[in-house]
C-alpha cells in the first residue's frame, strides 16, 4: 500500500515541478480565478519588500496576509517554490486517510487509495502551479482535520485557531470539531449535562486561548494592530471588487453606498448561518459536517479561488460510497466542466476583445456556483439517504408492500 502511494506522490511532485518551471506558471498565476487579493504571491512579495524597507507591510492597501505568514515567507522566500509544491500534498494525504478511516466500517478494496490520488490530481490541477498562499491555508485546514480525527484536542484547537487566524471563516469548523470530540469521548450532546459543558469549555478555552496568543504574537512581531483592519476588515468589508469566481464582486459593484453595509452583513451571515441547522442535522456525523462546512465556506466566502474549490473536492473520494445515491452527478459534472472552459473564454472576450462585458463573466460565475451548490446538496442528500437505508433496510416498501421511493422534502 505504501509503495504505490509513494510512487504516485513522486510522479505528482515531478509533474508539479516541471509545470512550475514552465512558462505556463506565469500565465496561470495572473488569472483571477486562481489568485485573489488575499492570497496572491505578487502581493506577498510586495509586502516583503515593504517589510525590508522598515515600513508597515499593510500601508498602501496591497498586502492582506497575516503577520505570521509574512514572517514565514521572510525566512523561506528563496524556497517559496518548494513550499508551494509541498503544501497541497497535506490535503491529498489527508483525504486518503479520511477515506481509510471512514471505511473502517465497510470493507472495500484498497485500490481506492490509488483512485483517490488520481481523483485529487484533476481536482487540484487548476491550482497546482498557482503562486498563491491558498495552498498553505488549505494545508493548515487539512492538518487541523487530521489532528481532529486522530483525537488530539490540543493540537486540533491550536490548528483551528491558526486557520481562523488566516481567514476568519474556519471559525465555523469549531462546531463539527467539538461534536467529533464529544462523540469520541462518549459524552452525549445534552445541554443539561455538566460533562458536556466541561469539555466544551476546555476545547473553547484551547481554541480562544491559542487565537489570543497568535494574535498577540502578531502584534509583537509587527509592533502595531495594523493587521486587524487590513486582514480581517478586508475580508469582512470586501472593498476590492476584482472579478473572481465568487458572488460578491458584481453585486457590490452595482450596489449603492447607502445599502452597502446591510448587504455586507447579509452576505457574510450567509457563510456562518448554515452551521446551526447543519450541526443539528448532522450531529451524529461530524466528519461529514466538516466536509459540508468547508464546501460552504469555499462557495460563499468573500474571495474564493479554485484553490478553495480544490480543497473540498479533494475530500470527495472519501465519500465515494455515496456515489450510487447521487442524483445529479451528470448535470453537475457537465456544468462544472463547461464553466471551467468558459471562464477564460469570457474573460478574454470581456477584457481583451472588448466585445463582452461583466455580465457575461458573472453569468458564468453564477452558473459555477450553482453547480457547486448542487454538488454539495446532492452529496448531503445522498448521505442522508444512505443513513436512512442503514437504519431501514435497502429495499423500501410502502405499507401495502409496493415499492417506495425516498424523497427529500
Amino acid at each position: 500500500m505504501a509503495a504505490p502511494l509513494t510512487l504516485l506522490l513522486i510522479v505528482a511532485v515531478t509533474i508539479r515541478a516541471v509545470l512550475f518551471r514552465s512558462s505556463l506558471a506565469e500565465l496561470i498565476s495572473e488569472r483571477v480565478e486562481v489568485v485573489s487579493p488575499l492570497n496572491a504571491w505578487k502581493r506577498v512579495v510586495e509586502g516583503l519588500a515593504l517589510l525590508d524597507l522598515g515600513v508597515s507591510p499593510y500601508s498602501g492597501d496591497v498586502f492582506h496576509e497575516t503577520p505570521l505568514m509574512i514572517y514565514l515567507f521572510h525566512f523561506t522566500v528563496d524556497y517559496a517554490e518548494i513550499v508551494f509544491m509541498v503544501s497541497p500534498y497535506f490535503v491529498d494525504c489527508l483525504s486518503c486517510l479520511l477515506a481509510s478511516l471512514d471505511r473502517a466500517k465497510i470493507a472495500i478494496g484498497s485500490n481506492n487509495l490509488k483512485s483517490d490520488l488520481l481523483f485529487n490530481f484533476p481536482g487540484c490541477l487548476r491550482h497546482i502551479i498557482s503562486f498563491s498562499t491558498c495552498g498553505l491555508n488549505n494545508a493548515i485546514i487539512a492538518l487541523f482535520i487530521f489532528c481532529t480525527l486522530k483525537g488530539s484536542a490540543l493540537l486540533s484547537g491550536i490548528l483551528l485557531a491558526l486557520a481562523t487566524y488566516q481567514s476568519i471563516y474556519p471559525l465555523t469548523l469549531f462546531a463539527p470539531a467539538l461534536l467529533f470530540f464529544l462523540q469520541r469521548l462518549y459524552i452525549p450532546v445534552n445541554l443539561r449535562r455538566s460533562s458536556f459543558w466541561c469539555f466544551t469549555l476546555q476545547y473553547a478555552f484551547i481554541y480562544v486561548g491559542s487565537l489570543v496568543v497568535i494574535t498577540g504574537l502578531s502584534f509583537f512581531l509587527l509592533g502595531s494592530w495594523d493587521f486587524i483592519p487590513s486582514v480581517y476588515g478586508f475580508i469582512f468589508s470586501v472593498p476590492d471588487l476584482t472579478p473572481n469566481i465568487g458572488l460578491f464582486w458584481y453585486f457590490f459593484a452595482e450596489m449603492f453606498e447607502h445599502f452597502r453595509l446591510f448587504f455586507i452583513c447579509v452576505f457574510q451571515i450567509n457563510v456562518f448561518f448554515y452551521t446551526i441547522p447543519l450541526s443539528i442535522k448532522l450531529k451524529e456525523h461530524p466528519v461529514f459536517l466538516i466536509f459540508m462546512q468547508i464546501a460552504i465556506i469555499s462557495i460563499f466566502k468573500s474571495y474564493p479561488t479554485v484553490g478553495d474549490v480544490a480543497l473540498y473536492m479533494a475530500f470527495l473520494p472519501a465519500w465515494s460510497h455515496l456515489y450510487r445515491f447521487l442524483r445529479n452527478i451528470f448535470l453537475v459534472s457537465c456544468v462544472l466542466l463547461a464553466c471551467s472552459a468558459l471562464f477564460p473564454v469570457l474573460w478574454h472576450l470581456w477584457i481583451y476583445a472588448g466585445s463582452a462585458n461583466s455580465n457575461f463573466y458573472y453569468a458564468i460565475t453564477l452558473l459555477f456556483n450553482f453547480g457547486q451548490i448542487l454538488l454539495v446538496s446532492d452529496y448531503f442528500y445522498a448521505y442522508l439517504r444512505r443513513e436512512h437505508h442503514l437504519t431501514h433496510g435497502l429495499y423500501l416498501k410502502k405499507k401495502d408492500g409496493t415499492e417506495a421511493t425516498l424523497v427529500l422534502k
Partner: protein
C-alpha cells in the same frame, strides 16, 4: 428544484428523453438549420440604428472639394512608387511635412515560415510612413487613424492621394479634438501588424520592427481606405477582422448614414441591398449576403487592413471603392466628403464605441441580426450533443436503474479502466499536435526528398498527416491489452461528446460563424456514430463530413456566392492555398483557426473515428 430532487418526475423525463432521443435530435437539427436560414428573412431582422448619442444628433456640413488635387497626388505617388520600386518614403515624408503633419517612419522585417504563393513574398522588408495631425485645442489623449495601403502595381494610388488631400484639408480645421494619424502601410497586413505592435509596445508575432518615434494617444477608431480608380460606382464596407472579430455596429451604421446623406451607393459583401424581401429572389439575395459574411468570419482572417486593429479594442472598418458597370459614377471628392463626415462624427466621441452590438450578422447594410437571435441556432445543435450524452449516461447506469431507485446489490461488471478511454484521447491529441507542428518544421526535409516547393511541401504534409490519422484506430486497438468492451466505447463517446460540446460552445462564443459551420457538419456524424453501424458507409460519411472536407465545401460555396464558380481542379488548388493561408495567418498575425482545428477539432473527430472502428 423539484425536477432535480423529485425522483418520479425525473424518471419520467429521462424515460421520455431516452425513448424519443433520435427523433428529438433530428427535429433539433432541422430546427437549427431552418432557424439559421430564417435569420435572413427580413421581418425577423431589425433595422439598424445609431446607438451612440455622441454620433447621432450632430449636424455636419462637409466641405471637402479637393478631388482634383487628390487625383494629381495619386498620379505623383504612382510615379514615385514605380521609381522607388516599393514605398516612396522620401516623397511621402516630404508631402506629409508640407501639409503640416508630424511625420515618422517605421521599418520592419519579417521572415515568413514558408513562401506565400498568393502574394509572392517570403522575406518581407518594408517601411510604414505616418503623419500625425495634432489637435489644435484639445489635450492630446486620444487619436483617430486613417490608413491607406501602399500596394504594388496600380492599386490604391487614389487612396493615398485622397489621404494626403484630406490631411491638407483637415489641417485647416480648428475643431479637431483628437489627433489624427494618417498612415500609409507597406505590405498590407504585415506592415499594419508591425505598426500596431510598435504603437502598443507588444510583440506577439515575432516581428522585427524599429520602435515608433512619434505617438498620439489611445486610438479610438480607425478607417482603412482602398481606392484604385478615379471614379467609383459604389463603396463596399468590410467589417470582418482577425478571428472573426467584428467592430461595433455603430461604425457600420455611421457609414450607412453618410452614404444615405450623400447619395452614395453602398454595398456589403459586394452586394447591393434589395427591397423585395417578400419574393424568393429577395430572400435568396439576403441569405447569400449573410452566408458570405458567415464564411468570411469563419475563416478567421482579416479581410481588410482594419482587421488587426480590433484586437486592441479599436473599432475599425475598411472602405473599398468599386468601379462597376453602372451609369452613375462618383468622383473622389464625394468620397472625401464621406470620409470627412465620418471622421468628424468620430471626433465627437466621448468614449469608445460600446453602445451598439459587437456580435451581429448583416443580411444587408440596413438590417442586422443580433446575438440573441442567432445564438439559439447554435444552441439547438449543442443540445443534440447533450441529449446524446444524457442518453449514453442513462444507458451506462442502466443496470443500477432497474433496481429500486439506485440501490442494488447486483454485481456490475467493473467499468472500463481509465486506460481504455485515455489511450485514444492521448493518441488523438498527439496526432493533432503532429498536425500542428510538423508541416512547418519538416518542410526542409520534404523539399530535399520530393520535387515540390516549400509551400506545397507544407500543405501536402498537413494533408498527409490528416490522412494518416485515419489509419490510427486499427493501431490503437492493438495497443490496448484486451478487447474493447461495449462499455468502453460508450464511455469514450460520452467523453468525446461532452468535449465536443464544450469546444464548439467556446468557439461559437468567440467566433460564432466558425462554431456554427463546424457544428453543422460535425454534430450529425458524431451524435449518431456507434461501432454497430455499417462500417463502410459510416466511414465514408465521417470522412465526407470531416473538418477538411468542411473547408473544401466552404471554398466551393464561397466561390458560388461571389459569382465566380470554380471547377473541381481549381477548387482543389484553392483549398490547398486556403490551408497555406491559414497556417501563415496563424504565424504572422496570431489567427486561432488553424491551431483550433489542428489541436482540438481534429483530435475530437479522430476520437469518433476511433469509436467507429471499435472492435
Amino acid at each position: 428544484m423539484g425536477l432535480l430532487s423529485d425522483p418520479n418526475r425525473r424518471k419520467a423525463l429521462t424515460n421520455l428523453l431516452t425513448r424519443l432521443n433520435a427523433p428529438i435530435c433530428m427535429v433539433c437539427y432541422l430546427a437549427a438549420i431552418v432557424w439559421f436560414m430564417g435569420l435572413a428573412f427580413e421581418p425577423f431582422t431589425l433595422r439598424t440604428y445609431m446607438s451612440e448619442n455622441a454620433m447621432g444628433s450632430t449636424m455636419v456640413e462637409e466641405r471637402f472639394s479637393s478631388g482634383e488635387r487628390a487625383l494629381s497626388l495619386a498620379k505623383e505617388f504612382d510615379a514615385h512608387k514605380r521609381k522607388a520600386g516599393g514605398m516612396p518614403v522620401e516623397w511621402l515624408v516630404k508631402a506629409m511635412q508640407a501639409r503640416g503633419l508630424e511625420v515618422f517612419t517605421q521599418s520592419f522585417s519579417r521572415k515568413l515560415p514558408f513562401p506565400d504563393e498568393n502574394k509572392e513574398r517570403y522575406m518581407v522588408r518594408g517601411t510604414n510612413v505616418y503623419g500625425i495631425l495634432r489637435a489644435p485645442r484639445a489635450p492630446r489623449t486620444e487619436a483617430l487613424v486613417i490608413t491607406a495601403p501602399c500596394s504594388p502595381g496600380n492599386s490604391d494610388n487614389q487612396a493615398v492621394g485622397l489621404l494626403l488631400a484630406l490631411a491638407q484639408y483637415f489641417r485647416n480645421q480648428i475643431f479637431w479634438a483628437k489627433d489624427i494619424i494618417f498612415l500609409v502601410n507597406e505590405h498590407d497586413l504585415i506592415g499594419m501588424q508591425a505598426w500596431l505592435e510598435g504603437y502598443h509596445h507588444t510583440n506577439i508575432t515575432g516581428m522585427e520592427y524599429s520602435p515608433l518615434q512619434g505617438r498620439a494617444g489611445s486610438i479610438q477608431a480607425a478607417l482603412s481606405l482602398e481606392l484604385s480608380s478615379d471614379v467609383i460606382t459604389s463603396l463596399d464596407l468590410i467589417l470582418e477582422g482577425l478571428n472573426g472579430q467584428l467592430p461595433n455596429l455603430d461604425l457600420a451604421n455611421l457609414f450607412y448614414a453618410f452614404c444615405q446623406k450623400l447619395g452614395v451607393l453602398c454595398t456589403i459583401q459586394g452586394k447591393l441591398q434589395r427591397n423585395d424581401w417578400d419574393t424568393a429572389e429577395g430572400y435568396t439575395h439576403a441569405a447569400q449576403t449573410m452566408m458570405l459574411m458567415v464564411l468570411k468570419q469563419a475563416c478567421g482572417r482579416s479581410w481588410g487592413d482594419h482587421g488587426l486593429f480590433l484586437r486592441y479594442h479599436i473599432e475599425a472598418a475598411s472602405i473599398r471603392g468599386i468601379n462597376g458597370f453602372r451609369h452613375y459614377k462618383m468622383d473622389v471628392a464625394t468620397i472625401g466628403r464621406l470620409l470627412e463626415g465620418m471622421v468628424r462624427k468620430l471626433n465627437n466621441l466621448l468614449e469608445r464605441l460600446h453602445q451598439s452590438y459587437f456580435f451581429y450578422l448583416l443580411p444587408s447594410l440596413s438590417r442586422f441580426v443580433s446575438i440573441g437571435y442567432y445564438m439559439p441556432a447554435f444552441g439547438l445543435l449543442a443540445v443534440i450533443l447533450l441529449l446524446r450524452a444524457l442518453d449514453l449516461w442513462v444507458n451506462l447506469g442502466a443496470p443500477a436503474l432497474e433496481a429500486v431507485d439506485g440501490v442494488t446489490e447486483a454485481e456490475q461488471p467493473s467499468g472500463p479502466g481509465v486506460l481504455t478511454v485515455l489511450t485514444p484521447v492521448v493518441i488523438s491529441h498527439l496526432t493533432g499536435v503532429a498536425l500542428y507542428l510538423l508541416p512547418v518544421h519538416l518542410q526542409e526535409m520534404a523539399v530535399e526528398h520530393f520535387p515540390v516547393s516549400e509551400t506545397e511541401a507544407v500543405v501536402l504534409t498537413a494533408v498527409a498527416i490528416y490522412t494518416a490519422g485515419l489509419a490510427l484506430p486499427h493501431n490503437t486497438q492493438r495497443l490496448l491489452s484486451g478487447e474493447g468492451t461495449e462499455q468502453g466505447w460508450k464511455v469514450l463517446k460520452l467523453t468525446a461528446l461532452l468535449y465536443l460540446a464544450v469546444l464548439l460552445g467556446c468557439t461559437a462564443l468567440i467566433n460564432f460563424s466558425l462554431g456554427f459551420v463546424l457544428a453543422v457538419t460535425l454534430v450529425p456524424i458524431t451524435a449518431s456514430m456507434t461501432p454497430h453501424m455499417p462500417k463502410a458507409l459510416s466511414a465514408l460519411a465521417m470522412v465526407l463530413l470531416s473538418p477538411a472536407f468542411t473547408i473544401l465545401y466552404c471554398v466551393f460555396i464561397y466561390q458560388e456566392l461571389i459569382e465566380a464558380p470554380v471547377s473541381v481542379g481549381e477548387g482543389w488548388m484553392l483549398f490547398l492555398s486556403v490551408i497555406s493561408q491559414g497556417i501563415l495567418d496563424h504565424a504572422l498575425y496570431g489567427s486561432l483557426v488553424y491551431p483550433l482545428l489542428a489541436l482540438f477539432i481534429y483530435p475530437c473527430w479522430l476520437m469518433f473515428w476511433n469509436i467507429l472502428f471499435w472492435s
